[in-house]
Symmetry: C2
Subunit: 217 residues, 2 copies
């Protein structure tokens, strides 16, 4: 049992080190030797747990997606209205992106993944679009969003807008202006989907996207 616990811990150490390395270097630039050095484990230990750099990258993508989608499920189960949950989830994702190397690495690998892991790039986007749909259906049921709203259309649009805001922010400011971009995005999106008589209620919601931690670089 002790041996198993130690093996588990070594594996976690390697995944954390891979997150750090892949968040700083591109997939093609990063070397297994960088991850070995960062983790402090032996080459043998790394190969015991992971067959290749590709294997490690896929584990980082899987973890990032688990961490990020997990926050979505929490908000969905909570008492928070759907529309508020969707906005606060984007705040949570932005926080993870700027503070958690595994999330940053997973997202970076995901951007590169249409090249290196085409078969793994599609799933996360589909999951996010589905999650966004669940929040919007909840918001329709709660009377915050017009019943005539085409929920799949708006769900796709929200994920595209978040993806784009995050990408433009990365290129222009290394994510330093991400909260500004998200506040503006939500002001425009909510204005288009919240029923007029509830706009006042949610007028201050976009501002709540602002992160306490701007960047953890």
């Amino acid at each position: 049992m002790l041996k198993q616990a130690r093996a588990f811990e070594t594996r976690e150490t390697i995944v954390r080190a891979a997150g750090l390395v892949f968040s700083q270097l591109s997939y093609s630039t990063a070397k297994l030797s960088d991850i070995i050095q960062e983790s402090g484990v032996t080459q043998g230990a790394l190969y015991f747990h992971f067959e290749s750099k590709r294997d490690l990258a896929l584990e980082v993508i899987r973890r990032q997606h688990e961490i990020s989608l997990g926050s979505g499920e929490e908000f969905l189960r909570s008492d928070v209205p759907g529309i508020e949950g969707l906005v606060l989830l984007s705040r949570e994702l932005a926080t993870q992106l700027t503070t958690n190397p595994i999330v940053r690495a997973g997202l970076r690998l995901g951007t590169e993944s249409s090249n290196f892991f085409p078969e793994f790039a599609r799933g996360p986007y589909v999951d996010w679009i589905n999650t966004s749909e669940k929040f919007l259906h909840k918001a329709v049921a709660e009377g915050d969003v017009l019943p005539a709203t085409n929920v799949p259309d708006v769900a796709n649009f929200v994920i595209e807008a978040f993806t784009g805001a995050q990408m433009v922010s990365q290129v222009i400011s290394e994510w330093a202006d991400l909260s500004d971009r998200l506040v503006r995005m939500w002001e425009l999106v909510l204005n288009g989907i919240v029923v007029p008589e509830r706009r006042e209620k949610y007028a201050a919601l976009p501002e709540r996207v602002r992160l306490d931690v701007v960047t953890a670089r």
Copy 2:
């Protein structure tokens, strides 16, 4: 003079070949030998015009940006209303993306560029945001968009939404559903910025984004 014309032609042949190769392979996977083979020129001829793979990639990015921004300038100079120009420009970009290997290669290199060419990634986005602002100022002057609109905010949002729609479409369908995504994006965006009494006038505009050529792959 004949020699100069021939040199110019060789250079163009190399750039076209680089566009084809970089549109199919990632920057790190593509080799100069692939480009030499695709172009049919000698290694010596290639090195006469370009020092390195990096040099060639930067030329492809520069060309793509020139081609795409050029269409923007044309629409701005024309009699087309600003709001219509902005929508039709996105159609033009989507067409270029699906039919012109240099544009596809430039965009692909641009996505990878936060890793390989961080210093060249920022400029194109800033140019696009500025172009989007010009269209929106025109639209405000023409009375199609509310004068109270925060033009820089909406301009940024439009570029983010297009970037995201293009990325999600690439990952999910290799751009096959790009026109569907753009139609939906414009329906939602126009609904948020066009003055109520002009909505009828522009109700059919988003549908005009649909491409004749879905994909040229």
